[in-house]
C-alpha cells in the first residue's frame, strides 16, 4: 500500500502526458468525423509524419553540429511548427486525393480508402527513411535541458520534458478552442458539421471548410507527433497505429464529433491507461501486468460503443447518414 501511494504522483503525471497526447490526436479524428461522418483511419500516419519531420530536423542539426548550440526554447517551437505544417498539408493532400472522390459513395467506402492510405503512408515513410538513412527506426537525440528533473517535495520529481508536453498541449488546445468557437472560420466549420447543405446555401464553401478541417486536425496530429518523439524518443513508421486507435477510442469516449469531448476523452483514457498499467499487476498479484493496457483500452472502446455510443459528453450523430 505504501508503495502504491508513493507511485501515485508519477503515475498521475505519466497519465496526464499520455492523456494530452491522446487529446491532441483525437481532435483530428473528431473534427473530421464531425464534418464528414467518417473515420480518418490514416490520421495515425499523419501523426507519425509529424514525429519523423521532427526527428529529421534534429538529426539534420546534429550532423551540422549546431544542435548543442540552440537552446530548447528556440528549438521546440521550430520543431512543433515544422511538424504541424508537414502533417497539416499531408492531411489536406490525402483528403484531396483519396477521400474527396468518394464523398458521395456509401459510408464504408471512404473508410476503406483511409485504411489503404494508412498502409501506403507507413511504407512510404519506411521507404524514404530506408533510402535516406538506411534505417527506419529512429531515435530523437537528447535535447538540452529537457531531461532535467525538478524536485517537488521529498519523494517526487517531474521531468521538464513532461511539463513541456503538458504545457504545449494546453496551449494548443486553447488556441483550437478559440479558433473553433470565436472566429468566422470556426463558425463555418461548425455550420458544415451541423448541416453541410444548408451551410453551402448560406454561402459557406464546403470543400474549403473540409480542407481546413483536415489542415487543423492534421496540424494537431503533427504537433502531437513531435511531442511524442520528444517524450518517448523511439519512433518507427508503424508507431502510429496503437496511439491512433487509442486516440480514436478517446474521441469515441468523449463523444465523437464533439471537440471538448475529445479533450476530456483523451485525458480520461490517458489516466485510465496509466493507472491500469501501474496498478493492474499490484491488484492481481502479478498475474496480469502492464502488457494488458492495450487490451484495456480496446475493452473500453468496445464497451462504450455498445453501451453508450454517443460518448460521455454525448453529441448525437445521425443514425443513418
Amino acid at each position: 500500500m505504501e508503495f502504491a501511494l508513493t507511485l501515485f504522483p508519477q503515475v498521475l503525471v505519466d497519465g496526464l502526458v499520455l492523456g494530452f497526447m491522446y487529446a491532441l490526436i483525437a481532435l483530428g479524428y473528431t473534427m473530421v468525423y464531425g464534418v464528414l461522418q467518417f473515420i480518418n483511419f490514416a490520421h495515425s500516419e499523419i501523426f507519425v509524419t509529424g514525429a519523423f519531420v521532427g526527428v529529421e530536423i534534429l538529426l539534420g542539426f546534429q550532423s551540422a553540429g549546431v544542435l548543442a548550440g540552440i537552446p530548447s526554447w528556440v528549438l521546440l517551437p521550430i520543431l512543433v511548427i515544422a511538424g504541424m505544417t508537414a502533417s497539416g498539408f499531408l492531411a489536406v493532400v490525402v483528403e484531396r486525393i483519396a477521400y474527396r472522390p468518394l464523398r458521395n459513395a456509401p459510408r464504408l467506402v471512404p473508410l476503406l480508402s483511409a485504411i489503404g492510405v494508412s498502409f501506403v503512408l507507413q511504407d512510404a515513410i519506411r521507404f524514404m527513411e530506408s533510402i535516406w538513412r538506411n534505417a527506419f527506426y529512429l531515435t530523437y537525440p537528447p535535447l538540452q535541458g529537457l531531461d532535467r528533473r525538478i524536485q517537488i517535495g521529498s519523494t517526487f520529481d517531474i521531468s521538464v520534458k513532461s511539463l513541456v508536453v503538458i504545457g504545449s498541449s494546453i496551449l494548443m488546445l486553447a488556441a483550437l478552442s478559440f479558433l473553433v468557437n470565436k472566429t468566422k472560420m470556426g463558425r463555418a466549420i461548425r455550420a458544415v458539421a451541423q448541416d453541410p447543405q444548408t451551410a453551402s446555401l448560406m454561402g459557406v464553401d464546403v470543400n474549403q471548410v473540409v480542407s481546413l478541417t483536415f489542415l487543423i486536425g492534421g496540424a494537431m496530429g503533427g504537433a502531437a507527433g513531435v511531442l511524442f518523439g520528444i517524450q518517448y524518443t523511439l519512433i518507427s513508421p508503424y508507431t502510429g497505429f496503437i496511439p491512433g486507435i487509442k486516440a480514436f477510442t478517446a474521441a469515441v469516449l468523449g463523444g465523437i464529433g464533439n471537440i471538448p469531448g475529445a479533450m476530456v476523452g483523451g485525458l480520461v483514457l490517458g489516466l485510465l491507461e496509466s493507472f491500469s498499467a501501474s496498478y493492474l499487476s499490484l491488484l492481481t498479484g502479478g498475474a496480469f501486468g502492464a502488457e494488458y493496457k492495450d487490451i484495456f483500452s480496446f475493452l473500453i472502446l468496445i464497451l462504450i460503443l455498445i453501451l453508450r455510443p454517443k460518448g460521455l459528453l454525448g453529441e448525437v450523430v445521425g443514425e443513418k447518414a
Partner: protein, 421 residues
C-alpha cells in the same frame, strides 16, 4: 466446331505453359503463365463439364508434377489456397452481407492455436499428464479440422452477438479491436497459466498422419517425407478450397444469400421485408469465421511453428485487399484477388528483393547525372522490397475503391438482376 477450336486452344495453352515451367523450372514468367491458364479456362466458352475436368487436370496432376520439380512453387500454391479460402470466408462477411470486419485474422488465429496447443506438448502445461498425454496422435488432426470449423463459428457467434447491432463504421473498429485483443492475448497468455507460450510461439506442431506412405512404397514411388508432406498439404488445401467454394456458392444462391444481399443493400428495407437482421448477420459472421477456423488448423500443421506475429492487423487487411481487388460479393473475384495478391507478395516482391541483392553484389558503378558515380553496392540494405506488403495492400485498396469499386471480377447478380441505380 467452335467448341473443338476452343478446346484445342485450352489444351495448347495449358500444355505449352506447363512444358515451359518443366523446361525452365526457375523462370517466374513461365510459372505466372501457367497459373493464368486457369483464368483462360474460366473465360473460354467451353461446356461446364469440360471446363471442370480441364481445371481438375491442371490442379490435380500438372500442379503437383510441377511442384515435384520445383518445391517452392508447390509452397506458393499452398499459400494461395490458404488465402483463397480466407478471402472466400471474408467475402461472405464483407462482400455478401456488407459487414466490414477488420479483425478477420482473429478467427484464423483461433483455429491455428486450437491445433497448435493440443497437437503439441503445449497442452501438458495446463492439463495434468496423469489424465492425458500430449501431443495428440496425428490422426486427431482430422477431428480438429472439424473442431476448427466449430471453434471459428463459435468465436464468430460470441463476438457477433454484442457487436452486430452497431453501425457499419463502429462495427469495423470494434472488430479491429477484437483482432488486436486476440493477438495480445496470444502474446501474453503464457502466465498465469501457460496457454499459448507467449511470443515464443508453439513448436513442434503435430502433422497429419501419412497413412498412405506404405501404400506408395508398395507401388514403387519413393518420395522423400518433406516432399510428401508438401504434396499432402497441397491436396488437403485443394480439398478444403473446393469445399469452401461449393458451400459459398450454395449459400449465395439460397434464401440466406439473398437475405445477406438485402441487408447489404439496405438494412432498413431488408428488415421491413421480414429479414431477421441479427440472425442473418450472425450467420454471416459465423460462416466466415468457420472457414478461417478450418484453414487455421491446416496452417498451424503446415507451418510446424506458430507465434502471434502471424496474426497481425496487416494480415486482416491483406485478406480484405484480396476481397476488394476481386470484387466484393464475387466468388470468382475473391479467388482471383487472393491469387493475385499472394503471387504479388510471394513472387514479385521476393523476386524484386533477390534482384536488388544481385545488383548490390554485382559491383557495378553507375554514372548518374547530378549524383555522380554511384556504386550499386551502396544500395541501402534496409531497402527490402519483400517487406513492402503493406504498400501493395494499401495501393490496391485505394486504387480499387476510387477507380473500380466493383472489383476486377464483379459479382454477377448485382449487375444483372438488381441493376444499378
Amino acid at each position: 466446331m467452335n467448341a473443338l477450336k476452343y478446346l484445342g486452344l485450352a489444351l495448347f495453352y495449358v500444355g505449352g505453359t506447363s512444358l515451359l515451367v518443366i523446361v525452365f523450372p526457375h523462370s517466374l514468367p513461365a510459372f505466372l503463365a501457367f497459373q493464368s491458364s486457369l483464368l483462360l479456362l474460366y473465360y473460354l466458352p467451353l461446356s461446364p463439364r469440360l471446363r471442370v475436368s480441364l481445371a481438375f487436370v491442371v490442379l490435380a496432376f500438372l500442379m503437383p508434377l510441377i511442384g515435384s520439380i520445383n518445391g517452392y512453387y508447390l509452397e506458393i500454391a499452398i499459400q494461395v489456397g490458404i488465402f483463397v479460402a480466407l478471402a472466400l470466408g471474408l467475402n461472405i462477411v464483407v462482400g455478401m452481407a456488407g459487414l466490414l470486419d477488420l479483425g478477420y485474422v482473429a478467427f484464423f488465429a483461433v483455429g491455428a492455436y486450437l491445433w497448435a496447443i493440443f497437437g503439441s506438448s503445449q497442452a501438458n502445461e495446463f492439463i495434468p499428464s496423469s489424465w492425458i498425454q500430449f501431443p495428440l496422435a496425428p490422426s486427431w488432426f482430422f477431428v480438429f479440422l472439424l473442431l476448427g470449423v466449430v471453434a471459428g463459428a463459435c468465436t464468430g457467434f460470441i463476438l457477433g452477438l454484442p457487436v452486430l447491432r452497431l453501425r457499419g463504421d463502429y462495427l469495423a473498429i470494434v472488430t479491429l479491436g477484437f483482432g488486436e485483443v486476440i493477438r495480445v492475448l496470444a502474446n501474453n497468455l503464457d502466465k498465469p497459466i501457460n496457454l499459448t507460450n507467449g511470443p515464443k510461439g508453439i513448436t513442434p506442431i503435430q502433422r497429419p498422419p501419412l497413412f498412405f506412405q506404405p501404400l506408395l512404397e508398395d507401388l514403387g514411388f519413393s518420395i522423400s517425407t518433406p516432399a510428401l508432406y508438401s504434396l499432402y498439404f497441397y491436396f488437403l488445401v485443394l480439398l478444403v478450397v473446393t469445399a469452401v467454394i461449393t458451400a459459398t456458392r450454395r449459400l449465395d444462391h439460397s434464401p440466406i444469400g439473398r437475405a445477406w444481399e438485402a441487408i447489404r443493400e439496405d438494412e432498413l428495407a431488408a428488415a421491413s421485408m421480414g429479414v431477421p437482421l441479427i440472425r442473418m448477420k450472425l450467420l454471416a459472421f459465423a460462416t466466415g469465421a468457420s472457414f478461417a477456423g478450418i484453414v487455421g488448423v491446416i496452417f498451424s500443421a503446415k507451418q510446424y511453428f506458430i507465434n502471434p506475429e502471424s496474426f497481425t492487423f496487416m494480415e486482416s487487411i491483406g485478406v480484405l485487399a484480396m476481397v476488394i481487388l476481386g470484387g466484393m460479393g464475387s466468388i470468382p473475384g475473391a479467388i482471383l484477388g487472393a491469387t493475385i495478391v499472394t503471387v504479388l507478395n510471394l513472387e514479385v516482391l521476393k523476386g524484386l528483393s533477390l534482384w536488388l541483392n544481385t545488383l548490390r553484389n554485382s559491383g557495378l558503378v553507375l554514372s548518374l547525372p547530378f549524383v555522380g558515380d554511384y556504386a550499386l553496392s551502396q544500395l541501402p540494405a534496409q531497402l527490402e522490397p519483400a517487406k513492402y506488403e503493406r504498400l501493395v495492400f494499401g495501393i490496391i485498396i485505394v486504387i480499387m475503391v476510387i477507380f473500380r469499386p466493383q472489383g476486377i471480377w464483379p459479382a454477377r447478380r448485382r449487375l444483372g438482376k438488381v441493376g444499378r441505380t
